[in-house]
Symmetry: C2
């Protein structure tokens, strides 16, 4: 027997986008920043990645109210070298910083074969795949790294130091949606630990440690001064360290353990950095890139990997474009109230 | 009580290097290729990574005898774009191809901020960290990807498709040896499964599948038509797919499931490709890269991560430089016989 689902509304993408843009503007964002955040948040919701969609609006608003982030920031783009773009997000969100530099880094990747985009002084509060997928739609291969806030213990260590530190990757396909993955280097999402705590479930082995650094399967012990483990033991830990080096040390951003938001109660967005590497596969004559990717996809299917990275999102995207973006009815009402002019709600 | 160790010899690095170079030359390598392979193999043995050191000599020799690899190959370097170097290894080993292009890709990384080195038609039969460490010693950050031979099942699949597909990373430190890691994206090394089979041990959960694609803890079932799993479930599988795309599709090399060595009995080296990304952290003014890495290392120590990536190798390297390179006495005798002119052994 299925448990009854919360009542769902289906809202056209354009309407959701408009609602979200109004909300961001009403809570202090410039029109430019509001439009970019609305597009990001509505797209994530459209694609079914609900943990990073409209579910995040209360976190955005609490952060904006705290004064921790500048939602009117105008990113400063520096052309640092023929293959290197640096962006100071000016304590704003990472997505407007990326938008400000996207054309330049794309042009550099096409001219040089590879280019790097280093963003610092930035806040990333969404999924990472929306940052890389557009490069693949332009025929480019993209890798992205972003660090976050200390909640992951290095392998063999006792206290949290790394963020959940995701790595995202996108590669174009011939006549099909790109291959895209976005994976946290933590063993589990923090939200899933909270759900396990609420539902009285044990965690799988190897997911977390308690405040003494000892392995635990009790969600409350992880949440109460403990930490998440990296995925895959020492290997995931090494990758998480690499994300700190690339997204923070190299870009000039904060490490996940560095920023201090204690003066801003309600702040939830990590003030760190982000690095993107963009490659033009067409610069190497004769690699037949698009056809080769189709060979790989065909063989992955034949080996029994039924769903390719990104595929579930594309299926939900198509359904959302046909039927409207699914959202809990009560949540949609809440968004409408937040977007309404003062006094009319 | 300690079990008695096999009798160990300690051989000066230069002597081991000379022995190995003689062996490679006597078995068909050009002097240039022999010197590079000898340096690689002796360095790996010196650093205590024995599974990729002199232990591999029989595999090299079987492969050379099979005619599968051209140990006299002269790599062809193409300056494909301002940030893109492509090398056709001409069916030779990957290390000479990298050596032929190292100066050019280093210069491009310094000039552009980032550069890419794509090697194809190459055989990689060693550890990956020796390929990246020298870039970090030159003050650069390096990432490397190499695919190998089908022995890893995609997550959720039934048969082997990916190689063990390692990822290596190196970053410079101020006044200390670089941070370097080299991790296979498989859950276990193939050699460790063979050891478990020999010793009658069970494998940990999640390491392998049998020939029907079903999870198994029986080493023989993995070895007999089964396959290894990726490390870390679907995340490691996605990373392994990324290595196939970067190291094979992008470079113009073979995927791990493609090459056919059936006409060359004894061949053990995968004929695939390799990709390196090299970044110059000094191109972004103000990131204070070297000092920032020291901050990260200090905090990783404080969090309880006692040994930093690469540290165990550096400790063994220092011991080997002081005392000589450790090697089983019988193995050293074998190398001396292989290196001796015909008729004198």
């Amino acid at each position: 027997m299925q448990t009854p689902q919360r009542e769902r509304a289906l809202v056209p993408f354009a309407e959701l986008h408009g609602l979200l843009a109004s909300i961001f503007e009403r809570h202090g964002a410039s029109p430019e920043v509001a439009a970019i955040l609305a597009d990001n948040c509505a797209s994530v919701q459209r694609d079914g990645a609900e943990s990073h969609g409209t579910f995040r609006i209360p976190g955005y608003l609490a952060t904006l109210a705290s004064g921790w982030v500048d939602a009117k920031a105008v990113p400063v783009v520096t052309d640092a070298a023929p293959g290197y773009v640096s962006v100071d997000a000016m304590n704003g969100f990472a997505q407007p910083a990326l938008a400000a530099a996207r054309a330049l880094v794309t042009a550099k990747a096409r001219a040089n074969g590879i280019a790097l985009l280093a963003i610092h002084n930035s806040h990333h509060f969404s999924a990472l795949w929306p940052d890389v997928e557009p490069f693949a739609r332009d025929g480019l291969v993209a890798l992205a790294f972003v660090n976050s806030m200390a909640c992951v213990v290095p392998h063999g260590g006792q206290h949290a130091l790394f963020g959940t530190n995701p790595i995202a990757f996108a590669a174009p396909r011939a006549g099909a949606d790109p291959l895209v993955f976005d994976l946290a280097t933590s063993a589990m999402a923090h939200g899933d630990v909270q759900i396990a705590a609420r539902e009285g479930q044990s965690l799988p082995e190897g997911v977390g440690v308690d405040r003494a650094g000892k392995p635990t399967r009790t969600p409350a012990a992880v949440l109460d001064g403990g930490a998440l483990c990296p995925f895959g033991g020492h290997k995931g830990s090494a990758l998480s360290m690499m994300v700190e080096i690339l997204a923070a040390a190299l870009t000039g951003g904060n490490f996940s353990f560095e920023f201090n938001w204690s003066g801003h109660p309600g702040a939830q967005t990590p003030r760190t950095g982000q690095l993107l590497i963009v490659i033009d596969p067409a610069r190497q004559a004769g690699n037949g890139f698009a056809a080769r990717i189709e060979t790989l996809v065909r063989e992955m299917r034949a080996a029994g990997q039924e769903r390719q990275p990104g595929e579930r999102r594309y299926l939900q995207r198509a359904a959302s474009e046909r039927d409207g973006v699914p959202i809990a009815a009560t949540e949609l009402e809440g968004l409408r109230r937040l977007a309404a002019p003062a006094g009319t709600a």
